[in-house]
């Protein structure tokens, strides 16, 4: 596996460099970690694999002193340690490179390396810091430009600065959280060879990822987490993608099939109500976020979008609802191309949208419940006629929506941020269902809600499907997708990796597609 660097083999009897014993961490209502045992030896690259919310990041945050474990022990080199802060962890040789870099954009590379470091000389000129940085870069074989400002660097270069900053503080255990998510393939190869050199000197690496191929390529052993617990630790050489996918998505899924239609429910239409044809779109930073998406939604069906968050779900939901323009391709609603129209036109055309971050884009938290509740219908009578807005009519509609959502509201003039998250989400859902007579795009509708609120949410969606709307359900909960969807499409890095009919579906296959593998038996592919 390691062709570049010679493999480091610790002498027999060497204790693990890091050992975790029975680690547990609880957040209100959530088990983030429980009974996690893990050991990592010098010379090892150890991968942590799991879905969103499997507890990978929490576990590593405990190891680096950001969180304190509610139970269990951290043992470093055979000695029990407790870390009250990341500073204590780095003093013990454990450093983490976070998914979102913690660099000062306006500072140079050299300044960032020396920031908050007790070995930084008290009086040092810029040129001296840069010289020290160049020496460090040479020692760890990481190419950086000491005098350059962070804001001028590519993400790959920024990541090297982060790694160098951790290594300069004599880290022996390096934790990387989804390091390749921001890298080009060439940059990822460079990173991998740097990691191999690092462990060849008797150090260790924790590598958090959900990409199956790279985990198999880089790591010596793989630990799979699911629902906060350790499922297995395996040697990478004993693993294959299919088996990892199965372990990762696992199946203690409670299948509560909501796909059956009651009598009188609207049938699935022959023609799609919403159709994406070769759609490409850019992300907020201008880089391509969606590539050549083809997706059709029929009336009376639920199409699930599976995938690890951040693989284009947000952009897809915005393209489907007219919030984000497409760079090429077509969005066709009811046979009519929508080319260039804005979100208001989509809403008027019968497309509802439950956005993924309701507080940031679905609501104006500081404004009244009434103003928020009428956001989709304020331009129509009875609320507005001849340009005149009628506040009394707005309150009447807002009461109607609150009643449908079963939310008790003492004062419709109070800011909507005073409501609980579940009540806000129910109001948003009811508001959108009223206009969604063609399509409802629901992005993570159950995120952040408790079990009762989730059930209500899913019931709403089924109700709308039976009334004859097409639903696009974007979710990171596989259970939810399997229980509701008629078809499931899997997004990975802005592409649809495959579309599966939800009839005796193979869960492992979804796991493979989510991890970026395309070898799917032809028979299951649905056009």
């Amino acid at each position: 596996m390691n062709e570049a660097a010679p493999h480091f083999t610790p002498p027999a009897g060497t204790p693990p460099i890091v050992q975790l014993k029975g680690i547990a961490k609880y957040f209100p209502g959530v088990i983030a970690n429980q009974d996690v045992d893990l050991e990592v030896y010098p010379g090892e690259i150890h991968a942590l694999l799991g879905e969103n919310g499997a507890g990978k990041s929490t576990l590593m945050n405990i190891l680096t002193g950001i969180y304190q474990a509610d139970a269990g022990e951290i043992i470093i080199d055979g000695y029990k340690r407790e870390f009250a802060s990341p500073q204590q962890a780095i003093a013990a040789g454990i450093g983490m490179v976070h998914q979102h870099f913690k660099l000062v954009q306006a500072f140079t590379v050299a300044e960032n390396i020396h920031l908050g470091w007790n070995e930084t000389p008290r009086r040092a000129s810029a040129s001296k810091l840069e010289r020290r940085t160049a020496d460090l870069a040479k020692r760890f074989n990481l190419q950086v430009r000491p005098g350059a400002r962070i804001s001028d660097l590519s993400t790959g270069e920024q990541q090297r600065v982060e790694i160098l900053r951790v290594l300069a503080r004599q880290a022996r255990v390096l934790i990387l959280d989804e390091p390749t998510a921001v890298l080009t393939p060439a940059e990822a190869r460079e990173l991998f060879s740097a990691l191999r050199n690092f462990v060849a000197e008797g150090n260790a690496v924790f590598f958090i990822s959900h990409k199956l191929d790279e985990v198999l390529e880089i790591s010596d052993r793989i630990t799979i987490l699911r629902g906060g617990r350790k499922i297995a630790t395996e040697k990478a050489s004993d693993c294959n993608p299919r088996m990892l996918a199965k372990l990762m998505v696992g199946r203690d899924i409670v299948l509560d099939d909501m796909r059956a239609r009651p009598q009188g429910a609207a049938p699935v239409s022959r023609e799609p109500v919403l159709n994406l044809k070769n759609v490409t779109a850019k992300g907020d930073d201008g880089s391509p976020a969606l590539h050549d998406i083809n997706l059709s939604v029929h009336a009376g069906e639920i199409v699930g979008i599976a995938g690890v968050a951040g693989n284009g779900q947000r952009e897809l939901s915005q393209v489907l609802t007219g919030v984000r323009p497409v760079t090429s391709g077509q969005v066709i609603v009811d046979g009519k191309p929508m080319g260039g129209r804005n979100a208001a036109a989509y809403a008027a055309g019968g497309i509802g949208h439950i956005p993924e971050d309701r507080l940031h884009s679905g609501l104006a938290p500081a404004l009244s419940i009434t103003i928020n509740a009428v956001m989709r219908e304020y331009m129509k009578p009875p609320i507005t006629s001849a340009g005149v807005y009628n506040p009394a009519a707005a309150t009447t509609l807002s009461k109607e929506i609150a009643e449908a959502a079963n939310v008790a509201i003492p004062d419709y003039g109070m800011p909507i941020r005073n409501l609980s998250g579940g009540n806000q989400q129910r109001l948003v859902a009811r508001r959108e269902m009223r206009i969604a007579n063609k399509v409802l795009v629901a992005a993570y509708p159950s995120r952040g809600l408790d079990v009762g609120a989730i059930n209500t949410m899913l019931r709403y969606i089924v109700e709308l499907r039976d009334a004859g709307a097409g639903i696009v359900l974007i979710s990171e909960e596989l259970e939810e997708l399997l229980n509701l969807s008629d078809r499931i499409a899997v997004l990975y890095e802005g592409r649809i990796m495959g579309k599966l009919d939800n009839q005796n579906i193979d869960i492992d296959e979804i796991g493979l597609l989510m991890g970026g593998r395309t070898q799917v038996p032809e028979t299951r592919e649905v056009a």
Binding site: P365, I371, G387, P415
Partner: protein, 349 residues
């Protein structure tokens, strides 16, 4: 028996309590000022009597008060209007100057019957204010440049421009006033002593603005865009277009204030014509808390404070004492607003 006092934060303040908190803040500020005056050897009771007598005891006092009231209503409204779309127009001062400047240009150089000239001056004032906020507006709308800085800095340019023309090219070469333009012939008619029709116009502008924001589809869209632009985008509202319109409206209202000051009160352009009305408008708007109608009340309070300052100056106090009092009121009001969100509960242990 011990008891525990606890603060409990309420999601929204009870209107009655909020009002009481504000009244308490104003009274506390006055008491503070009185104590300080007493310490420095003045008799606050006598001074207060003097202020009240001079302000409300005679028609002249009331008229002076009204003349301060007019520009404060409009500059306060200008800042409040900009707040509706989520921006801070710190440049009402500069827009006031430009409104006065443009109106004067028309009054001095356009021949015609006074009534027509007055109408032209009105439009010149509004357009002057709009032009002065145009660059900050476009910079904010298209390049996301913070309007706080750009509007503020243009104030100094405007003040110097007016100072230059009124002491240079436009100065009165006939009369004795060397640092001002000749008296303008077109005047806003007076309806009560020296109080001109600018007062009802200003109040009408406030009412019309409040009505548009509360009772129009456009007003709804502006409020939504100002409170959360990404939610407005999600609802398909043209946020940028509304931003430009509202900021220009704000500049136009401040420009109107400058025009009325020239055509109704001072009748000639001179350096320092704005009398800080643009900056005081920020305070008026803060006290009005985003309510257009509220501007009328906070502008009245501000006019009274300003007028008291002038009276106190005749009694040998400096302007600094009055500025300190204004600052105190604002400061204590902010505390009062926050405190009105709390309820004190008592737990027996």
């Amino acid at each position: 028996m011990f008891s525990n006092w606890r603060f409990q934060r309420l999601p929204s303040a009870h209107p009655g309590i909020a009002f009481a908190a504000r009244a308490a803040a104003v009274i506390a500020a006055l008491v503070f000022t009185g104590v300080i005056l007493a310490i420095s050897g003045a008799n606050p009771i006598v001074l207060a009597g003097e202020v009240i007598d001079s302000s409300f005891g005679s028609a002249f006092g009331m008229e002076d008060l009204a003349l301060l009231f007019i520009p404060l209503i409009l500059t306060g409204l200008a800042v409040t209007v900009a707040q509706q779309i989520g921006t801070w127009n710190i440049g009402a001062e500069g827009q006031f100057y430009l409104g006065a400047f443009s109106a004067t240009a028309v009054g001095l150089f356009v021949p015609g019957p006074p009534a027509l000239i007055l109408v032209l001056m009105f439009f010149a004032g509004v357009i002057g204010g709009m032009l002065w906020i145009l660059v900050p507006t476009l910079a904010r709308a298209y390049a996301n440049v913070n309007e706080l800085i750009t509007t503020l800095l243009l104030n100094f340019v405007a003040a110097l421009l007016v100072y230059y023309v009124s002491t240079g090219p436009w100065r009165d070469r006939v009369g004795l006033a060397n640092s001002a333009t000749p008296r303008l012939s077109a005047e806003v008619p007076e309806f009560w002593g020296i109080v001109h029709w600018g007062l009802p116009v200003a109040v009408l502008v406030v009412i019309a603005t409040a009505a548009v924001f509360t009772f129009s589809r456009w007003g709804y869209e502006v409020r939504l865009s100002g409170s959360n632009p990404s939610a407005a985008k999600y609802a398909g509202i043209p946020v940028r277009r509304h931003l430009i319109t509202v900021m220009l409206l704000s500049g136009g209202i401040a420009g109107l204030a400058g025009m009325l000051e020239i055509a109704g009160t001072v009748h000639r352009l001179q350096g320092g014509i704005s009398n800080n009305f643009g900056y005081l408008g920020i305070m008026v708007a803060v006290l009005a808390r985003g309510s257009s109608i509220g501007v009328i009340f906070s502008a009245a309070l501000m006019a009274f404070i300003l007028n008291s300052g002038i009276i106190l100056q005749t009694q040998g106090l400096t302007t600094s004492a009055v500025l300190a009092m204004t600052g105190l009121i604002l400061f204590l009001t902010a505390i009062g607003d926050e405190l009105s969100h709390y309820r004190i509960t008592r737990e027996k242990t």
